[in-house]
Amino acid sequence: MKLPEVEYEAPTTVAEAIDLLAEHLDEASVLAGGQSLIPLLALRLARPAVLIDINGIDELSGVSAADGWVAIGAMTREYVAEESEAVADAVPLLAAALPLIGHEAIRSRGTIGGSLAHADPAAELSAVARALDAEFVVRGPSGERVIPAAQWFEGYLTTSRRPDELLVEVRFPTARGDTGVSFQEVARRHGDFAIVGLAASLVLSGGVISDARLAFAGVSDVPVRAAAAEDLLVGERPSTELFDDAARRATDDIDPPADLHGSSDYRKTVAAAIVRRGLRAAADNAARGSD
């Protein structure tokens, strides 16, 4: 399973990287952590003419918090984000999801930006970004633009990043103090991709849900916000019946794919179960937080 021949470039600045992307467009693949791309190359499923290795671009790493956002450089390693106090304090849903990504060795190399640019709909980070309305900062020959998560994920392994653009940063909004989160995942084994996953975040104000975010991993070709279920939850007090209703509403609208690991019906059933469990856990966390 050897990689096919490929040209290799290792720019040291974002500008250089963009020039290369502009030159090669769809013939190039950006090599970040490599934990998703290199297996595709080894299986000869991906055949880029050029690899643009951005590991040498130092300015792309780092976590900073300002103005209600936590900005994470695209090349920030997953383990760095996992160890980051800024992330733990301000983006608890991301902190909850990070340890579930693969295994330690994967997180040693895998990057926040790389994972989100790869946009696997079963990936934990995809669901978190969608749930929190994260913002994706891309830079291209004509400058920088910010893409909200709702527009970032376009299809299976497809984002709205243009071929001559580089994802440089992902921003997550700082969670309010009374937020409770839960990342639920049903996977075949510890560390596997989710068969179905749920990023859930609730804000409780005076015991009433004032904000609800639910995003699924693994139920479509992109991460899916369960908007109708969120609407149902806002303004209500947590209860088993409410969460059951939300679970039904959330799964009414989904038509998950079938594969070796589960049929469409199976995924729907499990999705409903994890909505119930995720909401219960998030509500408990929120209640604890507001004590």
Binding site: K2, R44, R188, R189, D192, L260, S263, Y266, A273
Partner: protein
């Protein structure tokens, strides 16, 4: 010299001699070997399950810089001698014999079927070359299940057979089947399926072939369970004299039955080496290993059981179909072993066994750790289904059915005596180790909270090596040979045809020999892996503990006698007054007389003796298994099933095993735990999946899921070392037992967990989605 040491290695968990190199990265596996001028290979493989090959154009591949040669199936046919599969020939197969070429020529019969081999300066370039080989295929309808294969309208995979029958239908009866069923209080019948899964050693198949044209000698560096069987296979296919082939093997990264003889790819590589005149290496990648190396266990059973109201299983009538995949392998032979083993340790009065096997467009059915394991699955499922019908508990139903240990021993309805079988004792011991009443209380409390716990029990026996046959040993496996020699430097060397690939023979055999001979453990060396040097042998069938342990024991004893005769001459004493302990020979009662074994060896090698003195300190020993015997036991699992997601966790696993005397308890326990892990994997995670269109769906570790450290609990093991059968050799094998009995143990537990839903389980693979389907389809009132 030191005071007399009463060291006893046998029975102790002596640290392994293998580990210093294993733990420091100094092991030598096939892919670690580099020979001067060595080339690398990759195979062009069919992307389709069944097709005619219309043309193969290698010109673009040959033009790629770094590609040295490309051989098509047709060219390899011309370079080799067609013949039957070596292993099948060795085992005396007399059934339908498909004719096919070494690599595919006019027909491809599975996804991954090799069509051509590219030889290049690196594996990278060889794979590049493969992409440039243009093959034109003409689709044929794929035969993807037994039902279609049995249909005379299915396209035959092999022209010379004219159909897809790999084993002619046969039926045998033992006892009075019709009367037993006619008289039964009840007859239950159902269908059971065991799914396709596979060996998956961490090291795939591979070899280096190095042909020395000057001497006409082929040297193979192999990963194999028997260097001699590989040699036979290579010599036969290459049309070479046996003594012109030498097979060497070093460290091997697991096999579990996969690496026996020589695969079609390895034979092609040998032929390629001869053709290009340079050493040629092939190491399969994981995709090849999962897709094309071979798979196992795809068997289906129509089962009828004659049962009496008190839970006695009086008769079984089983109709079995094996899906043997595309090319001949073990699959067609496995029904014979299953038939023999199906009664297990129980008092069956009658048994009917019918079988057939079919060829399909899937990977070849190969031996996988306990190839006959499905007989235990079927039998242990039957007992649980009966127990459920009659409201009996799983231990009780088995106690009612197990044959008592009598003298003379009870005899299986299929003929073998259950000598020394301690199934009853192992069931009773499990019932002591696992508090069943307490579990049932906890289970009830959990159910009230919507949590589903279950407990499962299963028993097995394993012919490791099996009881002594009244007709004496038979077949190439009936006797074990070993050469033992006291080397000039004082090392006691054991030359064995065993080919350890995780079994720790380097350690265990040395323990036995050291004890028997009287030298320290470090003074024994086990020599394996060179056909020029070791006698015939094969590691497999859970036989080495008895057969090789036995020949090591008796051989060491014989060598010691010879050495004492020589020492007697040196010491001017009588041999029966001499002892060897702690590496010294001395006269009983006179410690000052001691001379080191090392000195005795040196003297013998100095060679200045008259004809009446035998200074050749070497023996050729053989052992026929002595009284042999069974291994076996009872396993018990407690699981929790999440009824909303179908995820199963194995909470507790207990194994009570009897393998007679233990040579090295840590080694025994490692074998058991590894086998159980594979059984858990089979039930919860592993499936070699094909689509109806013939596509192969589990070609990576993302889809073929292996159990990890979070999937396998601590396995509690207790040993019953109860019944010595032989004056000397009471070690029995454990290699396969764990993998044989774990699947029914776990499935029984899952069914117990889901009993409130009325779930009955008639299959072995229970991924989460399937668990939810079973719950949804079940009738709680059943």
């Amino acid at each position: 010299m030191t005071a007399i040491a009463a060291e006893r290695y046998t029975g102790a968990s002596i640290k392994r001699s293998e580990d210093p190199r294993i733990l420091t990265g100094a092991g030598r596996y096939v892919d670690d070997i580099k020979l001067p001028g060595m080339l690398h290979t990759a195979f062009v493989r069919s992307p389709m399950a069944h097709a005619r090959v219309l043309s193969v154009d290698v010109s673009a591949a040959l033009a790629l810089p770094g590609v040295v040669a490309v051989f098509t199936g047709a060219e390899l046919e011309a370079m080799t001698v067609p013949g039957p599969d070596a292993l099948m020939a060795l085992m005396g197969w007399a059934g339908p014999t498909p004719e096919f070429t070494l690599l595919a020529t006019d027909t491809v019969r599975l996804v991954g079927d090799p069509v051509a081999v590219v030889v290049a300066e690196s594996r990278y370039l060889a794979e590049d070359g493969c992409e440039l080989v243009e093959v034109e295929y003409d689709d044929l309808p794929p035969v993807m299940d037994a039902a279609f294969a049995l249909d005379p309208g299915s396209p035959p995979l092999f022209a010379n057979l004219g159909n897809n029958i790999a084993r002619l239908h046969s039926r045998h009866e033992f006892g009075d089947v019709s009367a037993t069923f006619a008289d039964a209080d009840r007859v239950i019948d159902f269908h059971i399926d065991v799914h396709r899964h596979q060996n998956v050693p961490m090291e795939g198949r591979g070899c280096i072939a190095s042909y020395d044209a000057d001497h006409g000698v082929m040297t193979m560096y192999a990963a194999t369970q028997s260097v001699h069987v590989t040699k036979i296979a290579v010599a036969m296919r290459l049309g070479m004299e046996q003594d012109k082939v030498r097979v060497l093997a070093g460290d091997i990264g697991g096999s579990f039955g996969l690496k026996i003889g020589a695969s079609r790819e390895e034979l092609a590589v040998a032929a390629a080496s001869r053709a290009v005149g340079r050493p040629v290496k092939w190491v399969e990648d994981r995709g090849e290993n999962l897709t094309a190396s071979g798979q196992a266990r795809e068997e289906s059973f129509d089962v009828r059981a004659a049962v009496s109201n008190d839970g006695a299983l009086r008769g079984l009538d089983v109709k079995m179909v094996v899906d043997t995949g595309a090319y001949p392998g073990m699959g067609a032979m496995v029904p014979d072993i299953m038939e023999a083993m199906l009664p297990g340790p129980y008092k069956l009065m009658a048994m009917g066994f019918e079988s057939t096997a079919v060829t399909t467009n899937k990977a070849t059915y190969v031996a996988y750790r306990g190839p006959w394991a499905s007989e235990t699955f079927v039998r242990e499922r039957v007992l649980n289904l009966i127990a459920r019908d009659l409201g009996l508990d799983p231990v009780e139903i088995r106690l009612r059915n197990v044959a008592p240990r009598t003298d003379p021993p009870a005899v299986m309805i299929t003929g073998r005596p259950l000598v020394g079988v301690t199934t009853r004792e192992s069931l009773e011991r499990v019932a002591q180790l696992v508090d069943f009443p307490a579990f049932r209380r906890r289970q009830a409390e959990a159910r009230a909270q919507g949590r589903y716990l279950g407990i499962g029990v299963a028993t097995f026996i394993e012919a490791a090596p099996g009881p002594r046959s009244p007709e004496g040993p038979s077949g190439p496996m009936g006797m074990e040979s070993m050469r033992l020699r006291l080397e000039e430097d004082g090392i006691v060397a054991l030359f064995t045809g065993q080919m350890p690939h995780g079994q720790s023979h380097q350690t265990t055999l040395a323990q036995i020999a050291a004890d028997e001979f009287g030298v320290p453990f470090e003074q024994v060396r086990i020599v394996v892996g060179d056909t020029d040097v070791v006698p015939f042998g094969l590691t497999g069938g859970s036989r080495s503990a008895t057969m090789t342990g036995g020949v090591a024991l008796h051989g060491a004893r014989q060598l010691k006698a010879k050495v004492l005769d020589f020492a007697a001459y040196l010491m001017e004493a009588s041999a029966q007054d001499l002892l060897i302990t702690d590496g010294n020979v001395w006269v009983r009662g006179d410690p000052a007389s001691a001379i080191a074994v090392t000195d005795v060896a040196r003297r013998a090698a100095s060679g200045q003796f008259g004809a009446d003195v035998d200074a050749m300190l070497e023996v050729e020993a053989t052992f026929d298994g002595g009284e042999g015997g069974w291994s076996g036991g009872t396993h018990c699992a407690i699981v929790e099933v999440d009824a909303e997601t179908g995820i199963v966790k194995v909470e507790r696993y207990v194994a009570v095993e009897d393998c007679g005397a233990l040579i090295n308890p840590a080694v025994v326990e490692g074998q058991i735990r590894g086998g159980v892990a594979q059984g858990i994997g089979a039930v919860l995670l592993e499936r070699s999946a094909y689509g109806e269109d013939g596509s192969f769906q589990s070609a990576t570790f993302m889809d073929y899921l292996m159990p990890t450290a979070c999937d396998v609990p601590r396995i509690e093991i207790e040993h019953l070392e109860t019944v010595p059968l032989d004056a000397d050799v009471n070690f029995r094998g454990v290699g396969e037992g764990g993998m044989i009995v774990a699947p029914p143990t776990v499935v029984n537990a899952i069914e117990d967990a889901l009993s409130p839903f009325g779930v009955r389980i008639y299959e072995q693979h229970l991924p989460p989605a399937r668990i939810l389907e079973l719950i949804a389809a079940a009738d709680p009132d059943q």
